[in-house]
């Protein structure tokens, strides 16, 4: 019933066409090995597109920088206590007028242990952030979203908004190893949409999750802008980890400048 309603009112033909133009290799029962399911993904895109357009009035800039085919790593800042930024980047890439991509997302290791959430995310194309998974998907020529801040980004709290936290180096190793371009992305607006004002550490420990946010139960309808930067290319060989960290810092700097650009645009529009 709900599926039928979504299909009828939220899934126009142009969204359906995304799946035809960016097909995933699924089996006879519509699943791939990582749990992706086209039917679930189709319905979710219908709902997410409405949220993207109507609730967050999202605008995406620089979508022409995203290659329309071939493997690519989409590296973004992580903000807000829920990974709404991942959903919005996903919609932006799926409906990219320059060539749609149905992206994958590497998710936090604790998420698959959460009932319903883990399976739903897998069905939408998200996969636990394991090196082997990412490597296999890059070899599959997929577009993969990675948030190298991880829970450090989502759990940092409102007082540290737009301050990039430490980036993990894993994505850079994979990018060099598989010769994959990196698209830096800055997301502005999610920090204000999902502000976390406190963290109930004891409760989080008890529930086995990285943080238990003191926050509003629903996101605020702030305007979100997503800024896609120019592709960055890094080559090996990897002599030492310091060199990798230096490359990671280049990506981090690119994201910082995209964030500054987004924040300046927001201020200019307010003025």
């Amino acid at each position: 019933m709900l599926k039928e309603l979504i299909r009828r009112y939220m899934l126009p033909e142009e969204l359906e066409s995304v799946f035809a133009s960016s097909p995933k290799r699924v089996g006879t029962l519509d699943y791939d090995r990582w749990g992706y399911n086209s039917e679930t993904s189709r319905l979710a895109l219908g709902v997410a597109k409405k949220i993207y357009d109507r609730y967050f009035r999202t605008e995406a800039f620089g979508l022409e920088n995203v290659p329309s085919c071939g493997r690519v790593l989409i590296i973004a800042n992580h903000s807000g206590y829920l990974p709404m930024d991942g959903v919005l980047i996903g919609v932006a890439l799926s409906t990219n007028p320059h060539g749609s991509r149905l992206p994958r997302a590497m998710i936090e290791r604790f998420l698959p242990t959460v009932p319903y959430v883990g399976n739903l995310m897998n069905a939408l194309g998200a996969v636990v952030g394991e090196v082997q998974n990412c490597l296999d998907m890059l070899r599959n020529e997929e577009a993969i979203m990675v948030f190298p801040e991880g829970v450090r980004g989502t759990g940092k709290g409102y007082s540290k908004r737009y301050q990039l936290q430490r980036f993990g180096n894993g994505f850079m190793h994979l990018a060099i190893e598989t010769n994959t371009p990196i698209i830096p992305v800055g997301v502005v607006g999610c920090e204000e949409a999902l502000p976390m004002i406190g963290n109930l550490k004891g409760l989080a420990r008890m529930m086995g999750v990285p943080y238990a946010p003191v926050a509003l139960p629903l996101p605020l309808p702030t305007k979100v802008t997503i800024h896609f930067g120019k592709p960055l290319h890094f080559t090996g060989p990897i002599d030492n980890e310091d060199k990798v960290t230096a490359h990671v810092n280049e990506v981090k700097a690119a994201i910082s400048s995209l964030l500054a650009e987004g924040l300046a645009l927001r201020e200019a529009r307010k003025a």
Binding site: Y31, R109, P112, P115, Y116, N119
Partner: protein, 313 residues
């Protein structure tokens, strides 16, 4: 070639559905001898059949008498059979005895059927578990220790005695007519347990495809460790739906609760030691076997589940 010139092959675990399929595929080209420790298996007069424990002295008499060219060891007791101790005796000590006899009597090809359960079902498992992935099942439960030990033992013999040409097969869930393992029994149920909020991706292989895989592994003789699985997969709860099972939801949190419920309620078809496999995926990469042996399963997932659905009509 007259019968005495044909290579002689011992097949253990002959009472199992997979073994029966293997026997029917090999009987015309080879002299077969079969045995099973669980029960007497009645075979046609041209196939000697023994009801014997691999640990018994009589086993050596059988080796002495037939001078086997190859052994296909399908006699691994699965976790739903017997007690933990008996399984350890049969699967680990029994297999060691079998290997020693193979070494002593110059057997030059041994095939061992293991299971994908040895990888363990963990939240962080990659979607393509290759043959080199660590075997983490014994972290989950003591009931799978014998399966992991059997693997370790096989690997020791694989490297220590290259003349045995040992081939270890790790199949995904074997299902289909006559199969009585946990997954097959579960699919036969009217109501099958599911963990609320979890529906891991699973792989299934039809018993006839598995038999074909074993025969290929025997005929091509390429020692090593191989996952045997189709690339196709399905979420567990969708599999139940296709097999015509209604779902009985069990609470999944806290993590110990479903295990406790399975123990307390004595859920034979949803054993406590396999609860993790109904929560997280342990999907294997079967590409090495497919490429090395040119294997392609014939049965689709739809055909596999249709069989179980038909059983309920």
């Amino acid at each position: 070639m007259n019968d005495h010139q044909k290579p002689c092959v011992l097949i253990t675990g002959a009472a199992g559905a997979t073994a029966q399929q293997v026997i029917s595929r090999l009987r015309h080209d080879y002299r077969l001898v079969v045995c099973d420790s669980r029960r007497e298996v009645s075979m046609s007069p041209d196939i000697p059949s023994y009801h014997i424990d691999l640990n018994k002295r009589g086993m050596e008499d059988i080796f002495r008498q037939y001078r086997f060219d190859a052994v296909i060891h399908l006699g691994r007791m699965s976790p739903n059979e017997y007690t933990r101790d008996s399984r350890y005796n049969a699967n680990v000590l029994g297999t060691q005895r079998l290997f020693d006899l193979c070494v002593k009597y110059g057997v030059h090809h041994v095939i061992v059927m293991s299971t994908h359960f040895v990888y363990g079902a963990h939240a962080f498992n990659p979607a393509f578990l290759t043959e080199s992935a660590p075997l983490k099942a014994s972290e989950l439960t003591m009931d799978l220790v014998d399966s992991v030990e059997l693997e370790n033992l096989s690997m020791i013999y694989l490297w220590k005695y290259p003349d045995l040409n040992l081939t270890i097969l790790r199949p995904s869930n074997i299902v289909g007519p006559g199969v009585n393992n946990t997954m097959s029994l579960l699919l036969m149920q009217e109501r099958a347990p599911v963990l609320m909020g979890f529906s891991p991706i699973m792989q299934f292989i039809h018993v006839e495809d598995m038999a074909d895989a074993i025969v290929l592994a025997y005929r091509k003789k390429k020692p090593g460790i191989y996952n045997v699985a189709s690339d196709d997969c399905v979420a567990y709860q969708r599999a139940l739906e296709l097999a015509g099972c209604k779902r009985r939801a069990l609470p999944s949190v806290p993590p110990g609760l479903p295990r406790a419920l399975s123990r307390v309620l004595g859920m034979k078809h949803f054993p406590h030691y396999l609860v993790s496999y109904f929560k997280y995926a342990a999907t294997i990469d079967g590409s090495l076997f497919r490429e090395t042996f040119g294997f392609e399963p014939r049965y689709s997932l739809k055909e596999i589940f249709a069989h179980y659905k038909l059983l309920k009509l």
